[in-house]
């Protein structure tokens, strides 16, 4: 069989390229252009003075910290089906199921932990949830703590996180 070989010409072999100076000149030109722009109007510099200034461009598609949603009567929407834990690529969701006594369905989580240090924020748990019970629409992008345990969020903490984009309750359950 005839082999298909494509010969790629080697770039940078011309006299101009071998001098290097024209390329250095091009690069430095860009640097100096920005320098002069910034020095002439210091207020136009495109930086954010975090943490005093907070970002304002977080959209509703941003995958922030997780939360557990509620139904319209404030009971937990989660039915402990383990779909999120099954879909999770980093196995950071730990659920224990128990009998539900509040009249909705039969099952609810007794405990629900997300280890945010192990989480890769891929959003698969949100995709997998059949009850719209877990969401990442809190807009929270920074989590601080003093120990590893502080980053393992429990059911109460996840329920306390609120949605930042208007939709408060689960859309799938009532």
């Amino acid at each position: 069989m005839k082999q298909k070989i494509t010969v790629i010409p080697r770039y940078g072999s011309s006299f101009k390229d071998k001098l290097y100076l024209p390329a250095i000149y091009d690069g430095v030109k860009v640097t100096f252009k920005h320098l002069f722009d910034n020095v002439s109007d210091i207020n136009a510099v495109d930086t954010l003075e975090y943490p005093e200034e907070q970002p304002t461009d977080i959209t509703d598609r941003y995958r922030g910290l997780h939360r557990l949603t509620q139904r319209s009567d404030d009971s937990i929407a989660c039915v402990a089906c383990f779909m999120c834990a099954t879909a999770c690529p980093s196995n950071c969701i730990f659920i224990e199921a128990t009998e539900r006594e509040d009249g909705h369905d039969e099952k609810m989580p007794k405990s629900f932990f997300i280890d945010t240090l192990e989480c890769v924020f891929c959003g698969y748990c949100v995709e997998a949830c059949p009850c719209d019970a877990i969401r990442m629409d809190t807009g929270i992008f920074s989590l601080t703590g003093n120990s590893r345990e502080d980053f393992v969020l429990n059911k109460e903490q996840l329920l306390a996180n609120k949605g930042a984009f208007g939709e408060e309750n689960s859309c799938a359950r009532d």
């Binding site: 039915v79 402990a80 089906c81 383990f82 779909m83 099954t86 730990f94 199921a97 128990t98 039969e106």
Partner: protein, 457 residues
């Protein structure tokens, strides 16, 4: 002996016994056929209509579970027509099904789910959102929970109580959409084999109260093993799982088919015996009430064996694996000890019945007999080394190898239970069967063979 005839299924020729059920041939030859109500132990009932096949010369599709094999029969189990039949019948089953798979323990091993993936994948044509309601949480007794909404009315459970146990607790009451499984008023499901209906139920209508919500089935790992509850040697599946950051744990025992031993079922006591296997385990080495290290224990063991030379009795539990018993015999020969395994303590007449329960509660007592081990109670000796035998014996000093915390002697060494090691056991009918190792603990306890290697060095 009946006549063997040739039948053609999906253009392939098979030999089958004349007059047997067509569905048995399909199941045996692993030809895909969906069914809810048929079960090899319960026979044909013909109510679910899922196992339809096309038979050449017949006007309409026929159910394979009630069709007898005839000479020259030509059967089609695939093709556009028959798949449409399967899809349509499945659609009827799903009209009133609650589709609450997220909260259903059967999800992952549910026939309805599997058939939907094979034949369904269609949207419901029903525009009325209301479904026929039934009771969702009925405790039938004997650890069986009933959800009437999920039921497909296959009647396997009622046929089990009619044909197998003969106790007739379950029945289908009501007609049409209101037909549902129930017990007689004021009566509970109460027989020693009741939990088998949980395995028989093809959907999530009957689930185990014991296993309820404890794990999703797709997380479980399954190994083949043998129940150690009595000398019958029923074949079981052990379902276990090691959750992240936790220890390997047993979740349930399920019966495994073996026509020579237990058929399709196991007793409830055997099924629930997994709990005792992980409660009150002996995990520490204890000498005079104090926990000691393994090296110290081995040294103490060797010193005691040296001290009581030729005045040692070794007692063997008749539940140990054959390999372990043989290893103990070899070791006993080395230290010139008397060996015995009193079998009387294992006899429990109350446990016996005419189905699967044997009065002999020692799983491997046949091996004790086969190896001609003394089964009388030993005379008083200097040192008694007990390998997990439940009996009480007289001796000046005792060394106990224990799986559970039930010994109150001076020197106790922990021992792995049967699910933590592997080996053969021989049941009362002389059938030798292999048990796989199920659990791999984070801190494994030595098995008999490992202990004997350690004390020899």
């Amino acid at each position: 002996m009946s006549e063997m005839v040739e039948v053609i299924v999906d253009k392939r020729a098979f030999n089958a016994e004349k007059g047997t059920l067509l569905i048995d041939l399909l199941i045996k030859e692993k030809i895909k056929v969906p069914y809810f109500c048929y079960h090899e132990a319960l026979g044909a009932d013909g109510n679910c209509r899922m196992c339809m096949v096309e038979i050449e010369g017949q006007k309409r599709p026929q159910i394979a579970c009630d069709t007898l094999i005839k000479e020259g029969m030509e059967v089609r189990s695939t093709g556009e027509n028959i798949e449409k039949v399967h899809t349509d019948i499945l659609e009827l089953e799903l009209i009133n099904h609650p589709v609450d798979c997220p909260t259903c323990d059967q999800a992952g091993e549910c026939s309805l789910q599997n058939f939907y993936m094979d034949y369904g994948l269609n949207d419901s044509k029903i525009t009325i959102p209301e479904k026929v309601k039934g009771l969702k949480k009925v405790d039938l007794g004997s650890n069986v929970m009933l959800d009437q909404e999920r039921c497909v009315l296959c009647a396997r459970c009622t046929r089990f109580t009619d044909k197998i146990t003969g106790t007739h607790e379950l029945g289908i009451i009501g007609r049409g959409d209101h037909a549902r499984v129930s017990t007689m008023p004021g009566r509970k499901l109460d027989n020693p084999y009741a939990m088998n209906v949980v395995d028989l139920c093809p959907v999530g209508a009957l689930t185990s109260k014991d296993f309820r919500f404890s794990q999703r089935v797709w997380f479980l790992k399954t190994v083949d093993s043998i129940c150690h509850g009595c000398a019958k040697g029923c074949n079981i599946y052990i379902d276990h799982n090691k959750m992240k950051y936790k220890d390997d744990q047993l979740y349930r025992f399920r019966p495994r088919r073996n026509d020579e031993v237990n058929g399709f079922f196991i007793c409830d006591e055997g099924r629930l015996s997994y709990k005792a296997l992980q409660e009150d385990r002996q995990e520490k080495i204890v000498l005079h009430g104090k926990e000691i290290l393994e090296e110290e224990a081995i040294k103490a063991f060797q010193t005691l064996v040296e001290k009581y030379k030729s005045n040692i009795t070794v007692v063997i539990d008749a539940n140990l694996y054959t390999e372990e018993i043989e290893a103990i015999l070899d070791f006993s020969k080395e230290i010139a000890a008397n060996v015995c395994s009193p079998l009387e303590v294992y006899i429990d007449e109350e446990f016996e019945d005419d189905m699967l329960k044997s009065a002999n509660r020692a799983a491997n007592s046949k091996t004790i007999e086969n190896l001609n081990i003394n089964s009388n109670i030993p005379d008083k000796s200097g040192l008694l080394i007990n390998f997990n035998h439940p009996g009480e014996f007289e001796a000046e000093l005792k060394i106990d190898f224990r799986t559970h915390q039930d010994a109150k002697t001076e020197f106790i060494l922990p021992l792995a239970s049967y699910v933590e090691s592997s080996g053969h056991i021989t049941n009362e009918d002389g059938i030798s069967q292999y048990c796989e190792k199920a659990l791999s603990k984070n801190d494994p306890v030595p098995t008999v063979i490992e202990w004997l290697e350690k004390v020899r060095s």
